[in-house]
């Protein structure tokens, strides 16, 4: 269901590579439309600010908190497909 482009590899702008404690903003989701739509409904949509709280051991999921107050476990493979930029300090 996840599309076929360069899976898993962490790059500098994916949520998967964000440091613990970092506050970032989701800019795009490299996912097929259905999944991206569902993810947006869940609370991980473009423009949303996300704080990385922790990672599970051995490359497990990320625990993140969104500015809307939701907390989510997000698998690393999926986090690698969410492009992020550092969130500006004036919001929150």
């Amino acid at each position: 269901m996840v599309d076929g482009t360069d899976a898993g590899d962490a790059n500098a702008t994916s949520l998967a590579s964000a440091a613990i404690g970092a506050r970032v903003r989701i800019t795009s989701a490299r996912l097929d439309g259905d999944i991206a739509g569902w993810l947006a409904a869940v609370g991980l949509h473009e423009g949303e600010e996300v704080t990385v709280l922790r990672r599970a051991a051995f490359g497990g999921p990320l625990h993140v908190r969104t500015s809307a107050g939701g907390e989510f476990a997000v698998a690393k493979e999926l986090a690698a497909r969410l492009e992020v930029t550092p969130a500006s300090e004036d919001r929150r």
Binding site: M1, V2, D34, I35, G37, W38, L39, A40, A41, V42, G43, L44, L53, R54, A56, A57, F58, G59, G60, P61, H63, T66, S67, A68, G69, G70, E71, F72, A73, V74, A75, K76, E77, L78
Partner: protein, 645 residues
């Protein structure tokens, strides 16, 4: 007032005009099911875990105006617009809403004949309002119920319900499902809405959820207590999800749950055994000795006894799981084990059903509806029968007692624990293989909402336990009783044309014995003779019947109540040359077979219900029996080569 699980077809569509249907919708963990329980005093499954409401539960209620309405508790739902598989929780909720709307239109009734009550957790208001916006866009008649009023107050926050109502164009009511006043407040709001619908309430879909949430939720207090309350979940997570301490606590907690199940269940099971013995004595007096009396006592009553023996374990495990779930810990467990399950092609979402499978696969198979991905869900269903469910325990105990009596109690305890891990290991290997063959394909990686920690409600947990007990009686109990009665026929009615020695037990001429003897050439490589085969035939429908069947074969009365005399008979059984019939390696082979084979018609029936056909249940029977047989043969033969007696 009654409540019963139903298919996702709104009751109003069945009962015609004049009926009002109220659908409770909301994100998982929004407090929807607690509110349903408060309003109906009823039966919904309540949980603090995404998608825990398995069936759509309905109950009839009287509104303050005197009108009668059906209130339905829908599974958790994030979106009515996003594409979701129809057999998952979200799909069930979505199609319920669609059918509700279609039935109202088809009957030409006005929209007031149904009402969508969206339940929102105001501590995460912006998230809930995303669904509100979609519901408003669909022009559904809508009312907003904000729950967790008490939590909001404890956190020193306030929500401007009037401002929110104005912005949304729909009525908003703030309640706490923990307080009795939630019921009249919600029902009055529903009544008002139904009455005023004609002239007011046009939902407005043009708002920004985050902005609106910021505008209506205010901080009104900032004491040390409210600050502590706001950071409660964060502080607890820093311990429970700690990279080192977290996994350790997780394993300890799971061990505690299972220890509690067995320590508490044992005396209660003993009490039920006494009851069955008492009933049997009464039956003997009433019916005397005869074929019919034997059928009632050894067939039907024995089956009922087996069902009762399970009950305490099912109830206690349900309570334990509900506590973990309602507290919010289960989602943390899923977070911790996701990586491990990913290796095997599953995800943290499969964790809850796999854990439940250790009590009984039947409810666990229903619980797989929380798994959003269809392939992952099917894989979880297919491997669940391998988990060491409580029905395997009497047989494990008998085999250990019979074949390992010369070893220390510690050794036997280690084998016992080993059998549990063997089940888990087999399920993990099977899932690894299935995800690369029968259920191959890409899956959606884990996205799981982590709810805030909450104190579970005792009354709700108690209701869950009684609901689980009733479900078990209905779904599994009847199958066991029928299987037990059928087994009695196989064991007691002579095979036409079969002969036996005058002094041999009657069972030697039974249908089961004839089949068991015919199977001997196939089962001999695993060390099973015809008597073990009869036991296996007897346990085809329900594996726990193995002990009772072997009791009949060896002429031991009430073996299921006290297996020690049967274990002794098994040890003493000798071949004509004086060597024991059953050595330790027969025991090991038998254990291997019992770990793997799906000897449970209730599980098969549950798989058929969830997969909508006979293909996958047949697959499960086929692969688990083949695997059980092959491994039993390997164990017996390798044991022989290694000189195991």
């Amino acid at each position: 007032m009654s409540a019963a699980p139903s298919s996702p077809a709104p009751t109003s569509s069945r009962s015609g005009h004049g009926r009002i249907t109220i659908a409770l919708v909301g994100r998982p963990n929004s407090g929807k099911s607690s509110l349903y329980n408060r309003v109906t005093g009823g039966n919904a499954r309540v949980g603090n875990y995404p998608g825990i409401t398995i069936d759509v539960l309905e109950a009839e209620i009287d509104l303050p105006s005197g009108a009668r309405a059906v209130i339905a508790d829908l599974p958790g739902l994030y979106s009515v617009e996003a594409t979701v598989a129809s057999d998952t929780d979200e799909g069930v909720a979505k199609s319920f809403i669609e059918r509700l709307r279609a039935s109202a239109t088809a009957e030409g009734a006005d929209a007031a004949r149904f009402l969508v009550v969206q339940v929102i957790d105001p501590t995460r208001l912006a998230l809930g309002l995303r669904l509100t916006r979609e519901l408003a866009k669909s022009k559904l008649p809508l009312l907003i119920a904000l729950t967790h009023k008490d939590v909001l107050a404890a956190e020193g926050r306030e929500v401007d319900t009037a401002g929110l109502s104005d912005a949304l164009g729909v009525p908003v009511v703030l309640v706490s499902a923990r307080h009795a006043d939630a019921k009249p407040a919600l029902l009055a709001a529903i009544d008002d809405h139904l009455r005023d619908h004609e002239r007011t309430h046009t939902p407005r879909p043009s708002f920004d959820p985050a902005e609106l949430a910021r505008a209506v939720v205010r901080d009104v207090s900032s004491t040390a207590a409210t600050r502590r309350r706001r950071l409660f979940t964060e502080h607890l997570d820093s311990v429970l999800l700690h990279p080192l301490v977290g996994p350790f606590l997780f394993v300890a907690l799971m061990a505690l749950v299972f220890a509690a199940v067995f320590l508490v269940a044992d005396p209660v099971t003993g009490f039920f055994d006494e009851l069955v013995v008492f009933a049997r004595t009464g039956l003997d007096k009433l019916l005397g000795k005869g074929l019919f009396a034997s059928f009632v006592a050894d067939g039907v009553l024995a089956g009922a006894g087996t069902v009762l023996a399970f009950m305490p374990q099912i109830v206690i495990l349900t309570v334990a799981l509900e506590l973990l779930e309602a507290s919010g810990y289960l989602a943390r467990g899923a977070f911790l084990v996701d990586r491990l399950l990913r290796v095997l092609g599953l995800s943290g979402r499969s964790f809850l059903p796999l854990l439940m499978g250790h009590a009984c696969a039947v409810p666990a198979i229903s619980a797989t509806r929380v798994v959003r991905d269809p392939r992952e869900r099917l894989t979880t269903i297919l491997v669940l029968p391998l988990m060491a469910c409580s029905a395997r325990l009497p047989t494990y105990a008998l085999v250990l007692g019979a074949f390992f009596s010369g070893h220390s109690a510690l050794f036997r305890a280690c084998v016992f624990v080993g059998l549990y891990f063997a089940g888990i290991f087999a399920a993990l290997v099977a899932s690894f293989v299935l995800r690369r063959s029968a259920t191959k394909g890409k899956s959606l990686p884990l996205v799981l909402e982590m709810p805030a920690y909450r104190v579970p409600q005792a009354s709700v947990i108690a209701r869950k336990a009684s609901q689980a007990a009733r479900r078990f009686l209905r779904d599994v109990g009847t199958t066991i009783v029928i299987a037990s009665a059928a087994l009695w026929i196989l064991l007691s009615i002579p095979m036409p044309g079969a002969t036996r020695e005058p002094d041999a037990p009657e069972i030697e001429s039974s249908i089961a014995a004839t089949v068991g003897q015919a199977l001997e050439p196939v089962t001999r490589p695993a060390g099973f003779d015809w008597r073990v085969n009869v036991g296996l035939i007897g346990s085809f429908g329900a594996r726990e019947l193995m002990v009772a069947t072997m009791g009949v074969v060896f002429g031991v009365e009430d073996a299921e109540d006290d297996a020690a005399p049967l274990a002794e008979k098994l040890r003493e059984a000798k071949k004509p040359d004086g060597t024991p019939v059953y050595g330790m390696r027969t025991g090991l082979a038998l254990l291997a077979f019992f770990v793997l084979a799906c000897q449970c018609m209730s599980t098969v029936a549950a798989i058929r219900r969830e997969t909508g056909g006979w293909r996958w249940p047949a697959f499960v029977i086929g692969y688990t029996y083949a695997l059980g047989y092959v491994v039993a043969v390997l164990v017996y033969q390798i044991g022989g080569l290694l000189g195991v007696p």
